[in-house]
């Protein structure tokens, strides 16, 4: 399979919650192309629809109208099971908080997507696992449960989990929202390394300009409409 130059794209995407007088138009016809092998930030203030956009792009939510193509597959016509299977094969996730299952160890959390897919951990996967674990520096934490990890460590485990199955695209939803600035920088650095060194595509939703500065491209979304993808001009100071 050839890598498409576009990791994901949306055409005339709308999402309406509720109906009648109480209807909320979260997305009002978004057109968007996300290039593969890049680190893209989706920015916008609270309530701009950026989380909804991410949910629709990631197959977590079904758009009201419009099309979504991820990894060359149209998502809008898939049923719930097909979407789920698509997610576990092609998409990785890092959320703001509550990323890990409390009853599993860090190592089990990393392997969870593979287990859900019923994949056997063969030599190739084991090598991949070792690689991401080492890149993220969590090897000595693998036997711990999430409650025994710091916030930054938890996010690193979450990133490892998102990368272990080599997904076509990784979505990160405010991954630094709960972290102090030093840990934030570390986590954002890891996300960027995963693009540069591991060749992943990462799409990050954030409202922090500092965080967006780590990205290659930035999409600004306001009132349910996306501005064009434009490259980040300046590298951050640090």
């Amino acid at each position: 399979m050839t890598t498409p130059t576009l990791a994901a794209s949306a055409r005339d995407l709308t999402r309406v919650y509720g109906h009648g007088d109480t209807a909320v138009h979260a997305l009002r016809g978004v057109d968007l192309d996300l290039p593969a092998g890049r680190f893209t930030a989706i920015m916008g203030p609270s309530g701009s629809g950026k989380s909804t956009l991410m949910h629709c792009l990631a197959g977590l939510d079904t758009p009201t109208s419009g099309t979504v193509t991820v990894a060359g597959r149209a998502l809008q016509d898939m049923d719930d099971t097909a979407l789920t299977v698509f997610r576990r094969e092609h998409v990785g996730f890092v959320f703001q908080s509550f990323n890990l299952l409390p009853m599993l160890t860090a190592g089990q959390n990393v392997l969870l997507p593979l287990e859900l897919a019923g994949r056997r951990v063969d030599a190739e996967l084991r090598a991949r696992y070792d690689l991401v674990v080492d890149v993220l520096g969590i090897r000595d934490r693998l036997g711990h449960r999430p409650s025994e990890l710091s916030g930054g460590q938890q996010q690193r485990v979450a990133i490892a989990r998102a990368l272990v199955s080599q997904p076509d695209i990784v979505f990160a939803d405010e991954p630094t929202g709960n972290l102090d600035s030093e840990t934030s920088a570390e986590v954002l650095g890891f996300l960027r390394r995963s693009v540069r060194e591991l060749g992943q595509t990462v799409v990050m939703v954030t409202h922090e300009t500092d965080a967006a500065a780590y990205a290659d491209d930035v999409v600004v979304i306001t009132d349910g409409l996306a501005a064009d993808v434009r490259p980040v001009v300046a590298e951050p100071a640090r």
């Binding site: 789920t84 299952l101 009853m103 859900l116």
Partner: protein, 805 residues
């Protein structure tokens, strides 16, 4: 705080449903018990005084002969007396068997002492006439004018059916009523309940009676009798209440668990309230009022449900058994008040500990980031120590109960060791779940592994959830195993006392050669064997056929040879033993030859003596077929087979003895007992399963974000449902298997301590089928309890779930 209380009651009502259902079931159980026992009491007591209306005094504690003497005395002195009693007799109407054992009672000669209510025809004028209970002949092919034969052999009575009567008093009724001379003529054990006596001689009656007999003025007797019947019903009510108590105990576990989970989920709310200035006392009071409100509402609902159920059951029972002893009950204020109080108390007691934990919440908890799912509760060291100690003490007491055959030690030991297991639950149950989950996890996929982790993440909650089911299953299996073991002991007794299912014995002449073939042809007959014999006269017992079993091992029950006497022995029917005693010697003569034989009493083979084949050969050279012994098919209907064989016996001039009837009656009693106890315990099991469904439902709420995360990472809806179903299955199956093991152990102790004293070497019998059924039913019910929570969990889309707080 009142605004908060009202708002939280409104918000959380749905989450209290299972706790409410548990209380409703427990309370309605009590109400149904009260209504049923009241209906039974009213039915039994109604009309008790009717048979004695014309009497001056009532005599009790007399046997049939003494009763006969009282009647003779009354006749001599111009007084009147009526014997109230009955005897079970074989009854034929026309040439058909009516019933093998029908209760035959008496009808007084004095019209004032006649209490039966005439419905059709007329009452008997004297001997040779009989009346039947109208309910007993309903639907049967019996009409006035039919000839009725009551009893067997020489002492049987022929009478004409002249009327149908109704019985106003349930406690004294029979199916047929003969006049006294006929009743007395029956060669039988007449069981005398009482003798009603009227006339001037009443006052001097007491002096003429043997010691032990009781004479009471009529009113005093009636009062005593009513009190006695009431007491019997009360004993029954108390037994039912024991089961209600078990159901309520399980309810306490379910409710306590519900409150614990709800309060854990609301910990942040409580902390926030503390932050904004609520005192501990205010919060404590608020949650306790919540519990009281829940208790009052659900207990009231329980009263309504119980009343409906109780009246429904009484109506059903009256419809099914028109002649049965049930009247419509009057609700008793005391019972209703009691049930209401118990329902509220159970709720408040169950809520007590969880509410105490609520006030320990630190106000700062509200400010911590959302981690509501990490409500981890472990097993305290003290708790584990206590549990181990209780198990040790309990097992010690159980051992003592076996060596001393002491029932009190057994119950104490059972309760103590079981409490120990419950205390130890937070360690034991998760370990078992891990073991089972690990074992199955190798073949099943991610859902089962997730389910295992979910099921054990909160050991105390897991233990509390399974405890309720554990109680019900332990009791159920203990009862099943206990009853199966006593059933096998009883079967051994039956085999000994009734080695032959049915026997046909010639009355005056040997049986025709084709009888055995005709018997064999009857449906339900497994095998039939003709026995050689001869008529002999036995010193002290008179003339009767002697039969010698040979080749009968395929027909008799129990060990081979069970029904063959040793050479030199003779078995006589118990009721013909009269002056002879077991172990004594008799001389037996057949056509001039004689033998000296040792007597053993027994029963179950009809009116004949049984000797060894060698003994018979010594006594006669020309044996003839005197008896046919029959083995019924397993599951053959005793009444149908008896009726069919009776027709053969009639035409062959033989007497039929139906031991199968006795056997199936005993078996039926055990079946009824088993079914009743299992049904009553089933109520506790139902409550426990509601508890499991509830815990799961609350856990689903609690794990909303977690499940959304799993869905985002690629868990399909079906897999999520499977995860929850597997969790319920793990909980219910582990509780059931553990309960089965403990129940079997308790039953073993009970058999060792109690049954073995009565029956030698009674083995513990495991009813494998029933035990397997318990586990399967609990497993399926566990799955069912997961249905709603699983559906609710799977409905949430990942995007919606992730934005949950």
């Amino acid at each position: 705080m009142r605004t908060v209380l009202r708002a939280s009651l409104r918000t959380h009502t749905r989450r209290y449903i299972s706790a409410a259902v548990a209380v409703v079931i427990g309370v309605s159980f009590i109400v149904v018990t009260s209504l049923l026992s009241d209906a039974t009491r009213a039915g039994l007591v109604a009309g008790v005084e009717v048979p004695y209306r014309g009497a001056d005094v009532v005599v009790t504690d007399v046997d049939a002969d003494e009763a006969a003497r009282i009647v003779d005395r009354a006749e001599r002195d111009g007084d009147s007396a009526a014997v109230l009693g009955w005897t079970p007799q074989k009854v034929r109407v026309g040439d058909r068997l009516f019933e093998d054992r029908t209760d035959v009672g008496g009808i007084a000669a004095d019209p004032d002492l006649r209490w039966q209510l005439l419905r059709e025809g007329r009452l008997p004028d004297g001997p040779g006439e009989v009346v039947a209970d109208v309910n007993a002949v309903k639907g049967r092919d019996v009409a006035i004018g039919d000839s009725v034969e009551i009893g067997t052999g020489r002492s049987s009575v022929e009478a004409t059916l002249v009327g149908l009567v109704d019985t106003p008093s349930a406690s004294i009724g029979a199916q047929l009523y003969l006049t006294w001379p006929d009743l007395r003529g029956l060669d039988s054990d007449l069981w005398v309940d009482s003798v009603a006596y009227a006339g001037p001689g009443s006052s001097s009656l007491a002096g003429t009676l043997p010691a032990g007999a009781t004479v009471q003025p009529r009113d005093e007797f009636v009062e005593d009798r009513q009190a006695e019947l009431t007491k019997e019903v009360n004993v029954l009510a108390i037994l039912l209440l024991v089961f209600a108590a078990i159901a309520l105990f399980v309810s306490v576990l379910v409710i306590a668990n519900t409150f614990s989970i709800l309060f854990a989920q609301r910990a942040r709310d409580f902390a926030l309230l503390r932050c904004v200035g609520a005192t501990r006392r205010q919060i404590l009071r608020s949650v306790r009022v919540e519990a009281v409100a829940l208790g009052i509402v659900s207990a009231t609902l329980g009263l309504l449900v119980g009343t409906g159920l109780g009246y429904g059951l009484v109506a059903l029972a009256k419809g099914a058994l028109p002649s049965g002893s049930m009247a419509f009950p009057t609700p008793s204020l005391r019972w209703y008040a009691g049930a209401l109080v118990v329902g509220v108390l159970v709720t408040v007691v169950a809520a007590w500990l969880p509410t105490r934990r609520v006030v320990r919440i630190n106000p700062l908890a509200a400010l911590r980031p959302d981690d509501s799912t990490s409500v981890h509760t472990g097993a305290g060291r003290l708790r584990v120590l206590l549990g181990v100690a209780a198990v040790a003490v309990g097992v010690g007491l159980l051992a003592l109960s076996i060596s001393a055959s002491n029932a009190v030690a057994m119950v104490l030991g059972g309760v103590t060791s079981f409490s120990g297991v419950l205390l130890f639950g937070p360690v034991l149950v998760p370990a078992l779940i891990r073991a089972v989950g690990g074992l199955l996890g190798r073949v099943a996929g991610a859902p089962l592994r997730l389910a295992t982790e979910n099921a054990v993440r909160n050991p105390r909650r897991t233990a509390a959830t399974t405890a309720s089911l554990l109680v019900g299953v332990t009791l159920t299996t203990a009862v099943l195993v206990g009853l199966a073991s006593s059933r096998s002991a009883v079967n051994e007794d039956l085999d000994r006392d009734h080695p032959v299912d049915l026997t046909l014995t010639g009355t005056d002449a040997p049986l025709a050669a084709d009888v055995v073939d005709r018997v064999q042809a009857v449906p339900g007959v497994s095998s039939a064997v003709a026995l050689d014999g001869a008529v002999g006269s036995i010193s002290g017992a008179g003339r009767m056929p002697l039969v010698a079993p040979s080749g009968t091992d395929g027909v008799t029950r129990g060990a081979p040879g069970m029904a063959t006497p040793r050479p030199g022995d003779i078995w006589l029917p118990d009721d013909l033993l009269d002056g002879l005693s077991s172990g004594g010697r008799v001389t037996v003569r057949v056509d001039g030859r004689s033998a000296e034989l040792r007597v053993r009493g027994g029963s179950g083979w009809g009116e004949a003596a049984v000797v060894a084949p060698t003994t018979l050969a010594r006594l006669t050279t020309t044996p003839a077929t005197w008896a046919v012994w029959v083995r019924a098919d397993d599951g053959a209907d005793a009444e149908d087979l008896g009726g069919d064989l009776d027709a053969v016996a009639q035409s062959a001039d033989a007497d039929l003895v139906n031991s199968l009837r006795e056997r199936s009656w005993v078996t039926l009693q055990l079946d009824i007992l088993t079914a009743t106890v299992v049904t009553l315990l089933g109520i506790a099991v139902v409550i426990a399963l509601i508890g499991i469904g509830n815990t799961l439902g609350l856990s689903v709420l609690e794990r909303g974000r977690e499940n959304a995360l799993l869905r985002a990472l690629g868990l399909t809806r079906r897999q999520l449902r499977a995860t929850l179903a597997a969790e319920a299955l793990l909980l219910s199956v582990v509780a059931t298997v553990l309960g089965t093991v403990i129940g079997v152990a308790f039953a073993w102790v009970a058999v060792q301590a109690l049954v073995q004293r009565a029956v030698d070497a009674a083995p513990v019998v495991l009813p494998w089928g029933q035990l397997a059924a318990v586990i399967v039913v609990a497993g399926v019910a566990g799955l069912v309890s997961a249905l709603l929570p699983a559906r609710r969990a799977a409905r949430v889309t990942p995007a919606a779930g992730l934005s949950l707080d």
